[in-house]
Point group: C2
Chain length 453, copies 2
């Protein structure tokens, strides 16, 4: 490390210097998989509130044409507004990826910004991959640095997402290490996003990612053009951690740079709900299958969870929107118990209207578990106690929820998920998705990423 | 108040319902004065780093034409990017207004957003005035609500500015009270801006106001189109105060709505420096004039200040840029002592290069004064102890710095300041400024604000 006293500068230098030739093949391949999974999440949101409102604002405030692509509409605009709309749309259906220990959704902030900039400057697929890896590696470490205290009030994907997007775009723009520090400074001082909206089922989660991707992109472009930022926006006396964390750990910022590939630790989402519900969902499913139980056999479910799950999901009692239902532990478990899965169709068709799901929801409660909490956020353990109407109790335990790195989705499963998500919204035909998949599996050799669809 | 348990909603309802007919004539007239003063601040920054970079980004990412006006270039673009550039430019030369007890610079975030939206939708001058008053009244109260703890780490004009801009634009767009709550929610969850940049003389202060005005504008437009926000973004358990303040006082949010006009408490800036230097600058000037002292007579100056001045100015020792020199107490007092004033020309020509100013700077130190600190932020008291080379000490005291409401600038003085600022940058001729002044003094009867210059 060349900046022993400024870990943020060391991180910036690492990100600015990342070359695709230096990446292990597994990292390149996984980046392609994460990219496909991200594009599918964006496409799945076509036509769903509030995505059309974001498209309308971009059309009113941005140019009528440009080099960057809005995935849901296939309209072209400037890089700024393409990043803005694609980030909003890719964080709506709760199918985008998550990194456990940072509690960051990297794809929905990194890829919209990196893709828009890559299309803007004519970068290759390999350059896009290097940029995305830079964004993931930096964003994840910054999320870990800010710690659990940050996540209690702030939506890490919104705040840290601004910095992750700036780093990715900075890499697309080939910023020098010094410029990358400025980009981090300008991004960090725009970093924002509060959890307050969730209780009200408000539309801020999509605004958060839109804001992060676009503000981060702006920070990198401004740095390229000579606009300066704080040298220590992360750990300075009036920086991000000083204002928004009480347990920040600067050592995390430079944790094994170049040898630990944090991107590989990212989880794909199988269920279409908040990731905090997934461990319990998988554990319940295992009990139901093992004991051959039906939802009507069950009197109560206790999910033993980490504090972060209570912090996020505890605000939701009876969900009023499909999106809010994705943050209702009882609803997710109800869909699993009654319908066998909690995918986009189940949420759309049953989450708010099926009396059996509502009845099951009311049988579920969360309780803090010391062991689960101690393992978090590095590991997201699923523990459920299921009690039947006849008074028998069953214990369910899952250590790696479906989609976690140790229990990941294969390329075939990802292709299937992509087709399902595109069909859900009608944003692309099966033939178009087949072409998209072929293009993404060859991203590392693509001379251009000008047209994704 | 119709929302006894949600002061933010009460504030939103007040702002949404503000009509120019209900405003006292003094409020209407003062709004025109603040508007002229703001336009002058924007014009003065033409050509100065980093304003051209902001113009270039807007040109690259925004439309090539539109209804909204960029003041420094007279180019037209969308409301979003006009707000973005005009906010950046109007906060550069440190001549824009300040509200004492909120420590908020209202003009530089409220007017860019309100003017851009008014030009976008074809609003009248009276509507623009009502919108600006709504933005000032809401922003000032939100700044007071967040308190001194917020300002220690966060640049209130950046964070609260986002909400003030949203309220002003929301009033232009005639949002309903419920929509105004959503606009506040979407603005508050984008609120950002850290003081960390100041030590490095980085360009973030202009990015802060650009971000605030544009993000606030977006929040209001999105609310008009049905995008929802948190109902209690200000005082909720995971809202702004929970995340960014330790001394928030919700009672301030609704302090005498409709009877106290906080806009009238706003100060014009006389010196072209950080407002925290003004009380001491005026007190020193009074001593020098009263005792007929020259800078060369003086051995030392002790300025007795409030803690906020030390927090902001203490990071600056030897300034490296003209902008950073505006945050150097010693430099400001040096310009006053050596050149008799601290205006734009003095900063440009002498702040970094005049050995006499540098020598005087090193004779100045700040010390916390309990009485001055107790009066702050409601009153910004100036107290200096001047010791001559012959060992005599003089005490200087100013209770209302030049430009404060009790010691305000007359319309003639504001016209003179406007001419000086426009001449400084060459952004407009004297004839154009005369026409601008005439237009602004008739703003309350103007059918349109489509073309300011």
């Amino acid at each position: 490390m060349n900046h022993p006293t400024n870990p943020g500068a060391a991180l910036a230098e690492f990100a600015a210097g990342l070359r695709v030739e230096d990446l292990p093949p597994t990292v390149v391949a996984r980046t392609e998989e994460l990219f496909l999974d991200w594009a599918a999440s964006a496409l799945a949101a076509k036509g769903l509130h509030p995505v059309p409102q974001f498209e309308a604002f971009a059309a009113a405030m941005g140019p009528a044409d440009g080099k960057a692509e809005i995935l849901v509409s296939r309209a072209r605009t400037s890089a700024y507004f393409a990043a803005w709309v694609n980030a909003a749309s890719s964080h709506l259906v709760e199918q985008d990826d998550l990194h456990n220990s940072s509690v960051l959704h990297p794809a929905t902030v990194v890829f919209p910004a990196a893709l828009a900039a890559a299309q803007d400057v004519g970068a290759s697929g390999a350059e896009l991959i290097a940029a995305a890896v830079a964004g993931y590696e930096a964003g994840i470490r910054i999320g870990e640095f800010l710690g659990r205290s940050h996540y209690r009030i702030f939506h890490t994907t919104a705040t840290v997402g601004t910095l992750a997007a700036a780093v990715a775009v900075g890499r697309v723009l080939r910023l020098s290490p010094a410029q990358m520090v400025h980009a981090l400074g300008s991004a960090g001082t725009q970093a924002a996003g509060l959890w307050e909206f969730l209780r009200d089922a408000a539309d801020s989660k999509q605004l958060h990612t839109a804001h992060a991707a676009a503000s981060g992109l702006a920070a990198a472009y401004l740095a390229r053009d000579g606009v300066t930022g704080a040298q220590r926006i992360l750990d300075g006396a009036k920086g991000l951690a000083a204002g928004m964390s009480s347990d920040a750990d600067p050592a995390r910022l430079t944790d094994r740079l170049g040898s630990r590939w944090a991107l590989l630790e990212t989880s794909f989402k199988f269920h279409a709900s908040c990731r905090h519900t997934h461990p319990a969902a998988d554990a319940l499913l295992a009990v139901l299958q093992r004991e051959r139980l039906s939802h009507s056999d069950i009197a109560s479910v206790v999910t033993r969870v980490h504090q972060g799950a209570i912090d996020v999901l505890g605000a939701v009692t009876v969900p009023t929107t499909v999106h809010q239902a994705k943050f209702s532990m009882g609803t997710v478990l109800g869909l699993i118990a009654v319908h066998g899965k909690a995918g986009l169709e189940e949420f759309r068709d049953h989450a708010l209207t099926d009396p059996a799901v509502a009845a099951f929801r009311d049988k579920v409660r969360m309780t803090l578990d010391a062991d689960v909490d101690a393992a978090y956020p590095q590991r997201w353990l699923g523990r459920v106690e299921v009690t039947t109407r006849t008074g028998t109790s069953f214990h369910g335990a899952i250590d790696e929820p479906k989609g976690d790195p140790g229990n990941t989705l294969t390329r075939a499963e990802l292709e299937d998920k992509t087709r399902r998500l595109a069909r859900f919204s009608g944003a692309a035909s099966d033939a178009e998705i087949a072409a998209l998949i072929a293009r993404v599996w060859n991203l590392h050799t693509a001379a251009s990423v000008a047209a994704l669809l």
